[in-house]
């Protein structure tokens, strides 16, 4: 049943955990596509050990660019469903099936993970504040009401994935994807997911000030597509 599901993982300097993340995901879905975004720490070699396919950006272009590369690759391989999944071990592979169920049932074309409907283990208060700010930003500028506007766990039907054309190379892609979801007019739903915060994932994550920069780049991208 999962033969037609492709899980896309964009990775930048994640040699520490990418093999384990890909292995865990591959235990659920056989098609794991890791896109190494110009890493310099051996991420590509680590991913080759356990991922199904590994692609490599010869220079770093950003998570948005890497996800788009993975999505296009999956569609070229006739994926019926495309899931995006983070490389830092924050996501739980057990959440992939619940993300796909509403799409397979035909209820929606897109599901977006929400840690605030699910659980966010060890979420620091500062990060919670920034994420809530992102929810407000999304409501104001995207016109979409979400409980979690910056969650990398998403699932698309093929039809929905074909509508995804991420132009924001870096972190503003998260807001751009929400824009794409809204403009597509396709039904979507938030699904509770579990996010695991570890010292490693927090160190790899965006700083609070980076949130302002991401918002700025998103707005510039909206003004000058």
């Amino acid at each position: 049943m999962n033969e037609s599901v492709f899980v896309v993982i964009a990775a930048y300097n994640e040699s520490t955990c990418i093999a384990e993340v890909a292995r865990e995901v591959r235990s659920i879905c056989p098609n794991v596509v890791v896109v190494d975004d110009g890493s310099t720490d051996g991420t590509y070699a680590a991913a080759r050990r356990t991922a199904t396919w590994v692609l490599r950006h010869v220079i770093n272009r950003g998570q948005g660019a890497a996800l788009q590369t993975g999505i296009e690759f999956a569609l070229a391989r006739r994926a019926a469903y495309v899931v995006t999944f983070d490389a830092d071990g924050q996501h739980d592979p057990a959440d992939i099936e619940p993300m796909l169920d509403p799409i397979r049932d035909g209820a929606v074309e897109i599901t977006l993970g929400s840690r605030f409907l699910g659980s966010a283990v060890d979420l620091p208060p500062g990060r919670r504040l920034v994420l809530k700010g992102a929810v407000l930003f999304t409501r104001l500028f995207n016109g979409v009401r979400l409980t979690d506007a910056h969650n990398g766990l998403r699932a698309f039907s093929r039809r929905a994935a074909e509508c995804v054309h991420i132009r924001a190379d870096r972190m503003a892609h998260a807001s751009e994807i929400i824009d794409i979801v809204r403009r597509s007019g396709m039904p979507f739903r938030e699904v509770p997911v579990r996010i695991r915060y570890t010292a490693y994932s927090m160190a790899k994550g965006q700083s609070h000030f980076a949130a302002l920069r991401i918002a700025f780049h998103y707005l510039i991208g909206r003004l000058f597509p």
């Binding site: 896109v35 080759r48 199904t52 396919w53 590994v54 692609l55 490599r56 950006h57 010869v58 220079i59 272009r61 950003g62 660019a65 788009q68 590369t69 296009e72 690759f73 070229a76 132009r167 190379d169 000058f224």
Partner: protein, 114 residues
């Protein structure tokens, strides 16, 4: 006409020639070339008769011709920076497309040996 004015006129003449060459080689669009010519001609007029700036400034309610030139220079600089920024954004997008094509072409899968 003093030496400084002659130098300015010589520079503007050179820029005009460069603009024509760039237009003929299609490095510049016609619109941009026309805009640049207007700029070079305006600069030449001010170089030949500096009092023109003062006359225009007074018409616009600005005190001095030098202030008008300063304001216009700052405005043009901002426009220039903005155009360069937009051009860089487009180049980045093209670069990403190129990197993507290479990544997909070289993808390694389960059938590829180590």
């Amino acid at each position: 006409m003093n030496g400084f004015q002659l130098v300015i006129l010589a520079v503007l003449a050179g820029l005009s020639v460069a603009t024509v060459v760039s237009l003929l080689r299609r490095w510049l669009s016609l619109g941009l070339a026309v805009g640049l010519f207007i700029l070079w001609i305006g600069g030449a007029v001010l170089a030949i008769r500096p009092a023109t700036a003062t006359d225009i400034a007074r018409l616009l309610g600005i005190g001095r011709g030098a202030d008008l030139v300063l304001y216009c220079s700052v405005l043009l600089m901002l426009v220039g920076f903005f155009m360069v920024y937009i051009r860089i954004r487009r180049l980045r997008a093209h670069l990403t497309q190129l990197v993507r094509e290479i990544a997909i072409m070289r993808a390694e899968g389960p059938d590829d040996g180590d």
